[in-house]
Assembly symmetry: C2
Homo-oligomer: 219 residues x 2
């Protein structure tokens, strides 16, 4: 039986982008099903009973939730193609540490930058830049976070790149000015088919954010 | 060369308990170094540069941070002894999902129960019970979360058990009344040497919490 792979996703989600990129890296064909998060579908509610959030990866009828867990699952289920996590336990632990760091420390500030104003927005901006600097320091002069090979940490972070432009506009700062190596890394990632295919244009995100703010009543 | 394993930890930490239990399950001798979180040691600051938090597992001089990542690392580094994660990718993803759920949804409410008052404390209590019910439903009639074998999800959750008594006292509720299967599971876990050795007595936590509240100025 051929694998049936369905992805419940929402196009602007940097979390969904991770799973898209991972599937593309493994050359897995999947049925992409765009979800309306303001009117959740029965399949989303059924497949992610606990959090009711996208992305949900459904493999042969069975759901896997949480994007970084999906990336690991994809790597373990389809070990052919490009490996996403290193095989050495210590290197694996380091990769997972930085993936977790991105979830805990990078996402929150981005919401403040586009969704808040005044002091709160300033706090978000300051923190976001600080976190990016830590990531830039971890990247150093390597091609990718794992060294020469594109993988897990790159996948965890790259989805934020198409949000950089709107974040810079909202917070009035330049990422390139403080983290030039990170921008060079993002541009290298964008040359990969898997990433180019999975990330929307910044312009589309720029138009989406004001609409989202209206929709959730913060504009 | 024999492995040098050091654990920087703090005795009441349910996160530190995870790593202790995992090391005990694998019969790994380790040098336990109690940390003063109000006066952080140079070794803690050096070994967890990013978060500056315990537990830190230092294996042959190299640090691994974040308790669930440590549990995975221990399982991969010492594959002999009891396996902590299942080998099947789907079962692994499910175990990681529940570990992540405990971190995201169970810890926060516990802080509100012992650290807040009035409405905030009530919200914490309500949410905590709801999350425990979800965990009880996931456990069902199984011996352990993974089935017949004690493992990752049990390790992720069991440290909370020695806090149950103080939480019930602070929030004025009974966990056994709403989640009897979960209490039976915890008692089963406590019969394991690895768990019994790694968890402090509830009495010690009961005395510790009022002291902690004074120390951080919320009493």
């Amino acid at each position: 039986m051929a694998d049936e792979v369905i992805l419940l996703d929402y196009w602007p989600s940097m979390f969904g982008m991770r799973t898209r990129v991972a599937l593309e890296e493994k050359n897995i064909k999947f049925d992409y099903r765009e979800q309306d998060l303001f009117n959740k579908s029965p399949i989303l509610l059924e497949m992610n009973l606990v959090h009711k959030k996208i992305p949900v990866l459904i493999h042969n009828g069975k759901p896997v939730c949480e994007s970084l867990i999906q990336v690991e699952y994809i790597d373990e289920t389809w070990p052919g193609g490009n490996p996403l996590l290193p095989s050495d336990p210590y290197q694996r632990a380091q990769a997972k540490f930085w993936g977790d760091f991105i979830d805990k420390k990078v996402y929150g500030p981005t919401r403040l930058i586009w969704g808040a104003k005044g002091e709160e927005q300033e706090v978000g901006t300051k923190e976001f830049i600080e976190m990016l600097k830590m990531l830039e320091s971890e990247l150093g002069d390597k091609t990718y976070f794992g060294g020469e090979t594109f993988g897990y940490v790159d996948i965890a972070l790259i989805g934020f790149y198409c949000w950089f432009d709107i974040l810079e506009k909202c917070g009035n700062f330049s990422i390139d000015a403080v983290c030039p190596k990170l921008i060079a890394w993002a541009k290298r990632c964008m040359k990969r088919d898997s990433v180019a295919k999975s990330l929307p244009d910044s312009d589309k995100i720029n138009k989406f954010v004001p609409e989202l703010k209206k929709k959730i009543g913060i504009e």
